[in-house]
């Protein structure tokens, strides 16, 4: 077996490369990235305000952001933990319903009108953020309920049990009103009256926060424990990793962010019907993760972006879209099972450091092979049972 690398590459070279390598101090790295994100967000918002991006394009952008969150959150369970949950849409629906019901009820109680959500008064903003967190928590609770029994099982069994749970969630959403005797989810007719609170800034703000949180988690010892479980569960357990705890943790975090994305989805579309969150939706998200590269946040984000924008751009070929999905999925699995990007992840700091060290790809010197490895061109450590 070829050399295995951790899923998130270390970047740079080890001390063996000799000489004093200049590195960025930690706070500077965070500062640079934060500034870049802020600049992009402001730029986007200005373009929307200025009319360079019209409402059609900004709605599609919002959806791109929502799918990015869904894909990177599923990536935790699939890419990092190495399991195959087939019920991601179930968590999404928990979040979507939790968030919308919370926002509808609370804004009624506080007297926040639908217009306030569009104009974005501070009160409305607080309600929305609280709503998204409530949505995430609802999904996380579902994640715990599903995760504890499910994670005792392996591989295929886990896949089928999550599928089963997602179906149960769907049936419950459909029929809970009759049991409770009052209006909660609106049943098959759907939950309406959700204020349209999603906006470009909110969605991409969430994307940045979610990516940051997942990134830091995966860099912490929790993240390493999760990666260790994926690479070899028995070995991980033998070295003292509490596998049940970390598996559940990864699962619940994945569910939480899916719930947040569900909340944003509700605010974007304005109507929720349980049928939307079926098996198909789970597969759609899975396809994004698998294509992008299991274990690559950048890969998930790119494929979520492409797979959301492409159908919009190619409306004329919509008949063939689903077939194309299927064929691409099979071909990628056969010829590049680790996904297009494998486990490569992009790092701005790494590039800046290379510039600082004048270590360009074209200036091949002694360290060329090492740099290649750092670039993630090697075969990745794919999700082997």
């Amino acid at each position: 077996m070829s050399e295995k690398r951790p899923i998130i590459s270390m970047g740079g070279r080890g001390p063996a490369s000799g000489g004093a390598r200049r590195t960025l101090p930690m706070p500077a790295r965070y500062a640079i990235n934060a500034v870049v994100v802020l600049v992009l967000l402001i730029l986007g918002e200005l373009m929307i305000d200025g009319g360079a991006i019209n409402r059609y394009q900004s709605t599609v952008l919002e959806q791109v952001g929502i799918y990015i969150i869904l894909a990177v959150s599923l990536n935790i369970a699939t890419g990092y933990l190495g399991q195959l949950p087939l019920g991601h849409a179930g968590f999404m629906s928990m979040g979507a319903y939790g968030c919308s019901i919370f926002i509808i009820r609370v804004s009624e109680a506080l007297g926040v009108g639908a217009r306030d959500f569009v104009t974005g008064t501070p009160m409305a903003l607080v309600v929305v953020v609280a709503g998204l967190i409530v949505g995430g928590l609802c999904a996380a609770v579902a994640g715990i309920i599903i995760g504890i029994p499910a994670l005792r099982l392996k591989g295929d069994y886990l896949a089928i049990i999550t599928l089963a749970f997602a179906e149960i969630i769907r049936v419950v959403m459909l029929n809970i009103d009759d049991v409770l005797g009052f209006e909660l989810t609106g049943g098959a007719a759907g939950l309406t009256g959700i204020p349209g609170f999603s906006s470009f800034l909110l969605v991409f703000g969430c994307v940045a926060v979610v990516c940051f949180l997942i990134h830091t988690m995966m860099k912490s010892r929790h993240g390493r424990a999760i990666l260790a479980i994926r690479d070899n569960e028995i070995a991980a357990e033998a070295t003292g990793v509490n596998t049940t705890y970390y598996k559940t943790l990864a699962f619940v975090v994945s569910a939480f962010f899916a719930g947040v994305a569900g909340g944003l989805y509700a605010g974007c579309v304005g109507v929720l019907q349980p049928a939307v969150f079926g098996f198909m939706k789970s597969i759609e998200i899975l396809v994004m993760v698998v294509l992008g590269g299991m274990g690559s946040m950048l890969g998930s984000a790119i494929s979520a972006t492409v797979l959301t924008i492409l159908p919009e751009a190619l409306r004329a070929f919509s008949e063939y879209r689903m077939i194309a999905y299927a064929v691409v999925l099979i071909i990628v699995m056969i010829f590049r099972p680790q996904g297009l990007l494998g486990s490569y992840d992009f790092s701005l700091s790494r590039i800046i450091e290379r510039v600082m060290n004048r270590d360009f790809p074209w200036s091949k010197k002694d360290a060329a092979p090492a740099a290649d490895v750092a670039e993630g061109k090697e075969v990745s450590a794919d999700a082997e049972r």
Partner: protein, 290 residues
């Protein structure tokens, strides 16, 4: 009324059992949950429709061609999509199987449209009088065929040379190869048997429910899959027991007036069984190699 419901459960359960047998065969040998199995049934039903409604050929030919087409499609899927991945991680094969299932469903939708097609009756015989009871002919046939298939499969796996090869491959693929067993052709044979069963299932399904539509394999496949896992995937009697359990669970939940919760109950049953006994009722426990 109670007896009628029992018969309803028996019919539904035996369709699930027949489909579950196909899942179990394939899983038993290469540990693959063949997500596309339900969709192979869909292919069979469409072939029956093509032969009888479009070409106007007799039902016997429709049955033969349906089974043949399913067998062919099954083997082809194995060769094209699964064979290149024999040594790949399990996750990759599982995702490929989902891809194949998607491909078949959407392909059928593109070719035949989303509307259901009506498969003409294979026979004029619709009911059988037995004592005071009038039994629907497709139900009786389904139950009989399921019993026959179970017996035949058990015999093939236990008594024939090919069956021995199958068991060897399922035990340890590498060792089987060293012993001179042609692993690839054994796997192909398994797919052929599993898919032929799907073909028979397709005919019985079309006989009982008369409609073929592109997504019919999905719910049927999922339920049969649940049945196979319930019974212990890889076990032939397990598939039958699992199928009947799912069928009876659905019918009895409906019979007590809780039809809206029918699917939830089936899935809940699966979760409970898996949590209590992770390998299913008849499944064997495999110790993991370190």
């Amino acid at each position: 009324m109670f007896i009628t419901q029992v018969l309803n459960g028996l019919q539904l359960g035996s369709i699930y059992a027949l489909v579950a047998l196909g899942y179990t065969m394939v899983y038993g040998i290469i540990l693959l949950l063949n997500f596309a199995h339900g969709d192979i049934i869909m292919v069979g039903a469409y072939v029956s429709w093509l032969v009888m409604a479009q070409l106007g050929l007799p039902p016997v030919l429709a049955i033969v061609l349906s089974v043949a087409a399913c067998t062919l499609v099954g083997v082809l899927i194995d060769k094209v999509a699964y064979a290149p991945l024999r040594n790949a991680p399990r996750l990759s094969i599982l995702i490929t199987a989902i891809g194949v299932s998607y491909f078949l469903e959407n392909g059928a939708q593109l070719v035949f449209g989303a509307d259901a097609k009506v498969v003409p009756a294979y026979t004029d015989l619709t009911t059988i009088q037995l004592g005071g009871l009038s039994l629907s002919f497709p139900s009786v046939l389904t139950v009989l065929v399921t019993i026959a298939a179970t017996v035949a499969l058990t015999l093939v796996v236990q008594k024939t040379k090919l069956g021995k090869a199958m068991r060897a491959v399922s035990e340890d693929m590498g060792a089987a190869r060293l012993m001179g067993i042609n692993v690839n052709s054994t796997i192909s044979f398994t797919f052929a048997v599993g898919s032929a069963l799907a073909g028979i299932g397709a005919v019985l399904y079309a006989m009982a429910y008369t409609q073929a539509n592109p997504t019919m394999g999905m719910m049927l496949g999922t339920k049969a899959f649940v049945a196979a896992v319930l019974g212990g995937i890889g076990s032939i009697p397990g598939a039958v027991v699992g199928g009947l359990m799912v069928g009876f669970a659905e019918v009895f939940v409906t019979a007590i007036g809780l039809s809206v919760w029918k699917d939830a109950v089936v899935f809940l049953l699966l979760i409970i069984v898996l949590v209590v006994r992770p390998t299913g009722i008849f499944g064997r426990t495999m110790s993991e190699k370190v």
